[in-house]
């Protein structure tokens, strides 16, 4: 079953993430892909994440397919103008990549090519419109395509943005222009997430909760202080602290597994997106602990 068929059928779907490496040595990445194969519904391939230059998402999506994984092409608007984006979308389509996640993209100031010129010719809402138009056989300026695409397009949302209302208004715009599914920014407070879901359920779209594995107390504090829209509640930090340094990661894996189980058992959302950030090999273990493998 494809990712689209799975999520549309009501199955609780699981996606993970692969970050293309910086350089041509892809052995670790291939190794991680092997570990993920058969255990998840699809894998996101990030697009020069944090504005750090790496192998392009498109090439790695193709490799993921060769390794037996269904890819979700992450596409940011930072590095390509509308010609580049549309052209890459057509390219993805002919390579058999049919899931795309439309995002704005971190600003170049975050990355390792600071003098570069940001593009943002179009942005995430408009990119979703572009995908919709390519699916209907026309480019964004209305020119006929010889052969349409058939993308299943998704977007991102930050359920704990502060202030929240402008973010929710943008979420609704994304739904209106055809976002079939959302992967959220990392969430840690399930009760708060439920109130977001109460809002999101008014829209006809699928929601996957974003989960980032906590490795240590330090990491939790870092997320709280530096990463927009992420709030690790004090109870979880206390839990990590109580476990002690050596067992912190193990506790972090438990927390993620526990959250997956609750989200699934209580039918809170339609799936989870696990961001293991460098620990992709731990994903099967998390799924086992959540009772999903």
């Amino acid at each position: 079953m494809s990712f689209k068929e799975a999520i549309e059928s009501g199955k609780f779907v699981i996606t993970a993430e692969v970050g293309p490496p910086k350089g041509t040595d892809i052995t670790t990445m291939i190794h991680d892909m092997h570990i993920l194969k058969g255990k998840i519904d699809a894998v996101n391939v990030t697009d020069n994440q944090s504005a750090v230059m790496r192998i392009c998402s498109l090439a790695v999506c193709k490799i993921a397919m060769e390794q037996g994984l269904e890819p979700i092409l992450q596409m940011t608007c930072r590095d390509r103008n509308r010609i580049g984006l549309q052209s890459d979308l057509l390219g993805a389509s002919v390579l058999g990549i049919h899931n795309v996640l439309c995002m704005t993209g971190d600003h170049v100031t975050a990355g390792d090519q600071k003098g570069s010129k940001s593009v943002y010719d179009i942005e995430s809402v408009q990119l979703l419109q572009v995908v919709d138009s390519l699916n209907k056989g026309k480019d964004m300026h209305g020119n006929e395509l010889k052969g349409a695409t058939s993308f299943y397009q998704g977007a991102v949302v930050t359920p704990e943005a502060n202030p929240l209302e402008p973010q929710l208004m943008k979420f609704e715009k994304k739904v209106r222009v055809g976002a079939n599914f959302f992967q959220t920014q990392a969430i840690y407070d399930i009760e708060k997430f439920k109130s977001f879901m109460a809002f999101a359920r008014k829209s006809n779209t699928k929601i996957m909760a974003g989960l980032v594995v906590l490795k240590s107390v330090g990491m939790a504090n870092f997320l709280n202080n530096n990463v927009p829209g992420i709030k690790v509640p004090p109870e979880l930090i206390a839990e990590l602290k109580a476990a002690g340094k050596e067992k912190a990661l193990d506790t972090g894996l438990n927390i993620t597994a526990r959250h997956i189980k609750q989200l699934k058992d209580e039918k809170i959302c339609d799936g989870v997106h696990i961001m293991a950030i460098g620990m992709e090999d731990k994903v099967p273990e998390i799924l086992q602990r959540a009772g999903l493998l």
Binding site: D121, P166, M169, K173, P228
Partner: protein, 226 residues
């Protein structure tokens, strides 16, 4: 107004290296308000050049440096001083400098400033960028706050995921433009506008180099002739 900032002494001396004598041209408008093209700035430049063993043959502050014709007429009285200089230094914006290039077809003309942005003066010599001259104004849709300029990504449909506690991803010193727009739209009772999807910008409107004659100018001329 056009905001400019003087280049460093080292950079200037490097670019002036070949020449010994200079004529300085300032500007009484933006560059004076920025303190980069007024008499005081020119005096400082003169001292710096003299310290390096160079000479200044004269200086002049035109009314509006980017008004090429006017500046050319104003410079007539300095004809000799200009002629005796090996190079011209223009202490205004990049546009003023290129007026100089047009006025002096046979002489090297150098800028002393970096030209930064179109700015609002919020307090004396404190400038904020509010408009980046996109060629098709859309701030009727965004509560009069320009997201193309005030959002580092120029987003048109709401805040990005990088917004943190109301501040911008790019710098915690600046407020997220879309949070500002949201707050303003709420205040003026136009929050419904934030639900409208703004289409991609037509960047052909910003295609440089621009040239424009006032729309009624040709008509006026024709009428006069008739």
């Amino acid at each position: 107004m056009i905001i400019s900032k003087r280049k460093s002494h080292e950079d200037l001396m490097k670019s002036f290296k070949k020449y010994k004598s200079f004529f300085l041209i300032g500007c009484s408008e933006c560059a004076s308000l920025c303190g980069t093209g007024d008499v005081a700035a020119m005096k400082t430049m003169q001292e710096e050049l003299e310290q390096e063993g160079k000479t200044v043959t004269g200086m002049m502050v035109p009314k509006t440096g980017c008004q090429t014709l006017g500046t050319k007429i104003e410079l007539k009285k300095d004809k000799e001083a200009c002629e005796s200089a090996e190079a011209i230094v223009v202490m205004s914006c990049g546009a003023g400098t290129q007026s100089g290039v047009e006025i002096f077809p046979d002489k090297p003309v150098y800028p002393s400033n970096d030209t930064l942005f179109l700015g609002n003066m919020t307090r004396f010599q404190m400038f904020d960028e509010r408009c980046s001259l996109c060629g098709e104004c859309i701030i009727d849709q965004t509560g009069g706050i320009c997201p193309i300029t005030n959002c580092p990504k120029g987003l048109l449909n709401g805040p990005c995921g990088g917004m943190k506690d109301g501040n911008c991803e790019v710098s915690s010193e600046i407020k997220c433009a879309w949070v500002r727009i949201y707050e303003r739209q709420k205040k003026v009772n136009e929050l419904d506008k934030m639900n409208e999807i703004l289409p991609p910008k037509d960047w052909s409107k910003k295609q440089n180099p621009h040239a424009m004659a006032r729309q009624d100018k040709d008509k006026d001329k024709k009428e006069k002739k008739a």
